[in-house]
């Protein structure tokens, strides 16, 4: 996996706007604390669009807040734009765009006043983009932010970061409050910027179809652990679900090579999610009789590897 970071293989920080190693965070503290992030390591190559999928409470927001310096990890390191995330300089902050899940800041200002005020901090502010998008996304510029609906407020927050033309975008569930037209518009903007300006994007979502379009890389975050970190195109070719009849399931002893998760089916059969390197052959158990192999889309795969109590035993 191209993104895996091991101590002997530390990527060059210029090519990787985000590099995290062994991040841990607990809430509640002490031994009774709940692990929110458990030894999370990954990095994002420049120009990549990394989609972070996880259920509610998986640790996505915590991870993002650490990356933008709003939270300190208990241990581990996070480097963002070549600087420690907890101590970003003002210069680095102008190259970073972050949209939290529920943007609230400066809510006493009107949309236009807030955007004008914020624009003064960003040398590369794109006024055309700002006005065009306000119009396309039907935001009344003279309305106070506090009077906007949550969806409108999220749209304004997206316009604010996109108009600042950042090198790195960190977006927490950015599309959740967008209607289908605005959502497509937003995804298109991300896709084109990554391709042309080399903008690096990290966005979390549970809307898997958005991610399938636009992401170049995918991470699954589950119960504080990173379960999967793969280039998007490879993901569908290197994962499959093997369905075994009751007889074939009985013949399977122990874990199969490349096994990610398994589930008993009501009929006594079993389904096993497998991964392989490149396009090598699948394990021979498939052909042992009664086995079929199904391709998985991203949503199937996510559900298969996270929707059972034993999911967390699997570590990459």
């Amino acid at each position: 996996m191209m993104n895996a970071v091991s101590p002997s293989n530390i990527p060059d920080s210029h090519d990787y706007p985000v590099i995290c190693r062994n991040l841990r965070k607990r809430y509640g503290g002490g031994f009774g604390g709940i692990k929110v992030l458990d030894d999370v390591s990954f990095s994002i190559p420049k120009g990549a669009v990394l989609g972070l999928i996880g259920r509610n409470g998986a640790g996505k927001t915590t991870l993002m807040r650490i990356l933008v310096g709003l939270l300190m990890p208990e241990s581990g390191s996070a480097m963002v734009l070549d600087e420690p995330a907890a101590y970003l300089t003002d210069a680095a902050k102008t190259r970073l765009g972050y949209v939290p899940q529920e943007p609230q800041s400066l809510s006493w200002m009107t949309v236009e006043a807030m955007l004008r005020f914020v624009s003064s901090f960003y040398p590369k502010w794109d006024h055309d983009y700002m006005w065009n998008t306000l119009m396309r996304w039907e935001i009344p510029p003279s309305r106070r932010l506090a009077k906007l609906s949550p969806g409108q407020r999220q749209r304004v927050a997206l316009i604010r970061v996109l108009a600042s033309c950042p090198e790195l975008l960190i977006l927490d569930e950015p599309a959740s409050a967008l209607d289908p037209v605005a959502r497509r518009d937003f995804l298109r903007e991300i896709a084109v910027r990554a391709g042309e300006a080399g903008t690096t994007v990290l966005f979390s979502t549970h809307i898997v179809s958005d991610l399938e379009r636009v992401a170049s890389h995918v991470c699954f975050l589950h119960e504080g652990k990173l379960l999967l970190d793969t280039p998007m195109d490879d993901l569908k070719e290197t994962h499959a679900r093997m369905c075994l009849s009751r007889e074939a399931a009985a013949a399977v002893s122990g874990r199969l090579p490349g096994e990610l998760a398994r589930r008993r089916r009501p009929d006594g059969g079993m389904s096993i999610v497998l991964t392989r390197k490149g396009l090598e052959a699948w394990p021979s158990a498939v052909t042992a009789g009664g086995g079929t192999l199904e391709a998985l889309n991203l949503e199937d795969l996510f559900i298969e590897v996270t929707d059972h109590p034993g999911a967390a035993w699997f570590r990459k």
Binding site: G47, V49, R184, L187, R188, A191, V192, A194, G195, E196, V208, S209, E212, R213, V214, A215, S216, M232, D233, D234, L235, K236, E237, L279, A281, W282, V286, T287, A288, G289, G291, T292, L293, E294, A295, L296, N297, L298, E299, D300
Partner: protein, 128 residues
Amino acid sequence: MESDELVIQPGSAEPIYRQSAQQLRRLIASGRLSSGDEIPSVRDVAGRHAINPMTVSRAYGQLELEGLLERRRGKGMVVAPVRGRAQSPDRRLQQLQPLLEELSRQARELGLPADSVIEKLRALWETE
């Protein structure tokens, strides 16, 4: 050709780069696209379908490798002349690659040994 002639199904189990490459192959094979025809730019396709440009580049790169597309200065990608396409047996064989992969996958799932499949193929070949 226009970008929206491509049909992209993000939720499919087939990666988007394969979907796009396969559609272009079919359009070329069926003659709907002929040599010299311009292919929409990566930006166009990515913007139109809101998909990652790298995915589109990958599809184009693969077709270029197969000799189906070529890069023309100032024009972007165009469909390659038929002559260039037919040159090497390797290239022609490469066009069968997805079919062969699918065949071998299905044969394996059915638990068939490779020899019996090859034998059947040869028999078919000779009756054609």
